[in-house]
Amino acid sequence: MKLLLPDILLVLLAALIMGYDLYKGKVNLTSTVPFHFAWLGLCAIFVVLLRLPYDQTALYPGGYLVTGTSLLFKQVFVLSALFTVLLSGSYFTPGGNKRGTLRHRSEFLTIILLCTFGMFTVVSATDLLTLFIGIELSAIPLYILSGFYKEDALSLEASTKYMMMGAISTGLMLFGLSFLYGAAGSVTFEALAKFCTANPDEPLLRLGVLFVLAAIGFKLTVFPFHMWAPDVYDGAPTPVTAFISVSSKAVAVAFLLALLYGPLAALHSQLQPVILILAAATMTVGNLGALKQERLRRFMAYSSIAQAGYIIMALAGDAGLGRSSVIFYLFVYAAANYAIFFILAAIGRDGDEQRSGLQGLGKNNPVLAAVLMLTAFSLAGIPPLAGFMGKFFLFAAAAKQGYYAMVVFAALNSTISLYYYLLLVKEAYIIEPQVARKPLMLDGVQFISLFLLTAAMLIAGILPSISDNIMAVAG
């Protein structure tokens, strides 16, 4: 049962927080106890995850499989949930955010935890049904979370749009999965894999895969299924946006990895051109869209669309490098994204979360400005930061398959992205503030989180041991 411990603890933690809310919640609406439960619990789960053996696999009843790769994904999910919880701190504190104070903290935390459990299910699935249930478990809570500003029209609009688009994509996915089932006659990965190897040219299979690709493209914000992203990222509360941009993307990647390098491995070589076209289109659209965004959450939406493009490009790589490079990149991407969102939270305390909120940062708060600069550089992929190593591996995965033109195209795209990431730095260091603003300040939680994230970006960029470990497990 050892390998199942994180999953069990996660459910227990969710139940604990929900139980606390039922028992005490109505008495003390502003209590911070659930918050402390949540982050402490997630830290504990992370520690447990780190101490598990990564070279063992265990199959539990009901087709629940734990492997080294799935544990790595669980690390990403737990860290992401942890930083979302930490990020949400100031949004639940009265006066912590200009847009308004979120309420029902225990519900928020419970939903985050249960959503994360859905993601755990995706990486542990061994049949299509569990896979589908997992992805839905991780999707539906996000629709609720996006509308968590219950009086804010923008937030409700985001929630509605997200749900509508999500419904379509769920439909497509079920459609696709049913084709796969129809072709193979079974929902287990084992049977599907056997069928794929025997009949790789079966048209039903291809049809099913393409439907699934379109459906997961929604979650992964692949062009042209990405269009919800800017509106939802902008409308949802910032911690939710951060969670969507990291966890939801990570689970979609996990889903694709599970299929492409699992039961559908025999189709992988046929799918590579499609994957590359989607990757190229996605990174271009994301980068073009981000060029002139003033609103930072929208900006992050486009930025993460572009990042999704780089990630799927690596899925054209072989199993070992494709898997390990993508997982490493998810860590790197999560660190940089959360760092940006923590800075957003600092801007949002007294102003709109807009780029102009960064003005004068270089003078008022040089440490925060330096963190912003490092983060922007990491997102743009400049050495020696983690983002550089991450992109290096992604590009290497595609290059190893001989897709040099694609790598060049991605590198050019990366240059475009440097432009708008540098705009952030320019705003913080060069542009003089037009109006007097309060200097940006961090509270204790934000300070420690940013410290950890920055350290991670630096260490993962300089020290090779982290990427080496991931290669060893997933490669």
Partner: protein
């Protein structure tokens, strides 16, 4: 315990890096006193750990070890760049030298930079400089070394141009950066060439005899090693790339001190020593190294005689001493016709003597610069004609600098005597008589110009009006502290000669040890000092002026540094700027910029398009999904 200390030896680098990050990011506007204390504390910790590492290194039997090693960049299967801590006699020696000098310069700077409005920035950059140099000397592979090599370049650039309000400082920093970068381009080419054929970056493998054989068979040994040496050529300011070093004194004096003693210029010598076994495989390479070194030694010493600027004299003296180190490495190759029958083709003394001179020179040259800084601080001028008579006013500086001048002149029993003697002996043993004579004569010139410098500053009457000259304790004590190694480093001669040896040394053979050499060297040095005493001993310039008149045009040519700078200016401004740069500029302005602007415009239009489609209407999004699905199905067919 020793293993633990060695494994964590990267801490030596991390302390200054930490100091740079903390001061540079968090405390650029903080209280000066705090910053000074913090910088000194970090520097002391770094020194402390360097000493611990030295002890741990000496307590274990291995000659070379990689204390820490991890794969860093995996370029291609079989070609991986690692990150490592490479410990061998020369890197351990450099760790001690760099950390000692860095600590003393930090302490000294508290006094020297007092009241400067960029006090904190100075300490941050100084820490970065130490970090870069420490990283350079402990690099386990040539690529890692190149990274730190460039970091040294960048940090020296920002320190030389520290007072960037002064146009001359900006010009000097640009000059230093451009000249060294010019040389580094060849270095990088060399790295590419050598690693392409040898499939490795690691020093251990590059220096192995099999790599030398491999490169020789491919016919790139000489070219590759010369290209790599070109990097050291620029950094160590060998003729004709020496032009940046005299100008680099535009930085604050503590910077000159650290550049000239422990960091930057020594990097070139260090690189040559690091790659010595590979260089030694090519006769041509070592011959070039030897000629360049010997020529620079003499050339710079001649110029130093005529200079009037206190720091310029020292700058040319550094050039000359670097020439010694470089030619000593080159002279380690035993001359084929002269003394070729010793049973070996490499004389290890050339290598150890060069490293020994790096060691002794670091201390006395650092002290000379710090002393010069103290004098400048007191007199507010760089011109030695405006000084004089400072003996009574600055007694501690006087006696300390006397020791340093005696050491650099090579007077028994101070440190410089031993290392210079070892270099001359190495040249003589290997049969390079011309180089030996050049070294001997340069020794005499060195003694002369150093004592000209010394007498004009301290002896006789003050030649300008001095008011309230005093010795700042922050500045004086580091100077006094440096007298200890300046005087006593000679005691280490035996261990250097016995232990600091290049790896993969075959037969060492037996070399003669003429007993007359120390006497001759001392005689030459004494003659130099004697001449200086006759001309300047009373702190007067009349006799020298008469002599100067007699030489007339020769003196003018020498005083203008043989017009090398003017030649450079002519080549760059007249030829390169007009014939090459102008057409390229036109091309860049019109064709390249035009294309780039077109790209930018296209991208902006594309961005506008993306944002236009994103109009917030849900039915459009749903429609896009459906169309996307259809296209996808079509694509995947």
């Amino acid at each position: 315990m020793a293993d633990f200390i060695l494994f964590n030896s990267y801490l030596i680098l991390l302390f200054p890096l930490f100091s740079f990050a903390i001061i540079g990011l968090g405390h650029i506007n903080s209280d000066n006193k705090f910053v000074a204390k913090f910088a000194i504390a970090m520097s002391s910790l770094s020194l402390g750990y360097a000493l611990l590492t030295t002890l741990a290194y000496l307590s274990q039997p291995k000659h070379t070890l990689l204390a820490y090693d991890a794969a860093w960049l995996n370029f291609a299967p079989g070609l991986t760049a690692n990150l490592g801590m490479y410990l061998d006699p020369i890197s351990v020696m450099m760790l001690v030298v760099v950390t000692v000098i860095s600590l003393l310069v930090n302490i000294y700077s508290v006094g020297y930079m007092k009241g400067d409005r960029s006090f904190n920035r100075f300490f941050a950059l100084l820490a970065l400089f130490s970090f870069s140099m420490l990283g350079l000397v402990t690099s386990g592979n040539i690529l890692q070394m190149f990274v730190f090599w460039e970091l040294v370049g960048v940090s020296s650039y920002s320190l030389i141009g520290f007072w960037y309000e002064k146009p001359s400082a900006v010009a000097a920093s640009k000059k230093a950066f451009i000249v060294t970068r010019f040389a580094d381009a060849f270095f990088l080419l060399g790295i590419l060439l050598v690693s392409f054929y040898s499939q490795t970056f690691s020093f251990q493998e590059l220096n192995s005899p099999s790599t030398a054989l491999l490169l020789k068979d491919a016919g790139v040994l000489t070219l590759g090693t010369l290209l790599i040496f070109a990097g050291g050529w620029g950094k160590s300011a060998m003729f004709p790339l020496h032009v940046w070093l005299p100008d680099a004194m535009e930085g604050p004096t503590p910077v000159s001190s650290i550049i000239h003693s422990a960091t930057m210029v020594v990097a070139g010598v260090y690189l040559t020593a690091r790659m010595f076994p590979l260089f030694a495989a090519s006769e041509t390479t070592l011959f070039v190294i030897q000629c360049i070194g010997a020529f620079t030694a003499l050339f710079a010493a001649v110029i130093a005689i005529t200079q009037m600027d206190i720091k310029r004299i020292l700058a040319f003296s550094t050039l000359s001493q670097l020439g010694y180190m470089i030619f000593s490495l080159g002279a380690a190759k035993v001359c084929a016709d002269g003394g070729g029958h010793h049973g070996a083709d490499v004389n290890p003394l050339g290598f150890s003597a060069a490293m020994y001179h790096v060691f002794t020179h670091a201390f006395f040259k650092c002290m000379l610069f710090l002393g010069a800084g103290a004098v400048i601080h007191a007199v507010h001028s760089n011109d030695i004609l405006k000084m004089g008579g400072l003996k009574q006013l600055m007694p501690k500086t006087y006696w300390s600098l006397l020791a340093a001048c005696l050491a650099i002149a090579g007077v028994f029993p101070l440190s410089g005597f031993w290392s210079k003697d070892a270099i001359l002996l190495a040249a003589l043993q290997s049969g390079h008589t011309v180089t030996f004579l050049v070294g001997l004569i340069t020794g005499g010139l060195t003694a002369f110009y150093m004592f000209r410098f010394f007498f004009l500053i301290f002896h006789g009457e003050a030649r300008s009006h001095l008011h309230h000259v005093h010795e700042d304790p922050w500045m004086t004590w580091p100077i006094v502290a440096l007298t200890v190694p300046t005087i006593f480093a000679g005691l280490l001669e035996h261990s250097f000669v016995a232990q600091v040896l290049p790896p993969h040394l075959g037969e060492t053979g037996h070399f003669a040890h003429p007993a007359w050499l120390p006497w001759l060297a001392t005689l030459v040095a004494m003659t130099g000092i004697g001449c200086a005493w006759l001309l300047y001993g009373e702190g007067k310039t009349e006799k020298a002026a008469a002599l100067q008149k007699a030489f007339g045009p020769v003196h003018t040519v020498v005083q203008n540094k043989f017009y090398v700078d003017e030649v450079y200016l002519f080549i760059t401004h007249k030829i390169i700027f007009n014939c090459v740069a102008a057409p390229i500029k036109w091309f860049d302005r019109n064709v390249v910029d035009g294309t780039m602007n077109l790209c930018g415009w296209l991208l902006q239009v594309g961005g506008k398009g993306v944002r236009l489609v994103q109009n917030g209407e849900l039915h459009l999004y749903l429609g896009a999904t459906v169309v996307g699905l259809i296209v996808l199905l079509f694509l995947g067919k």
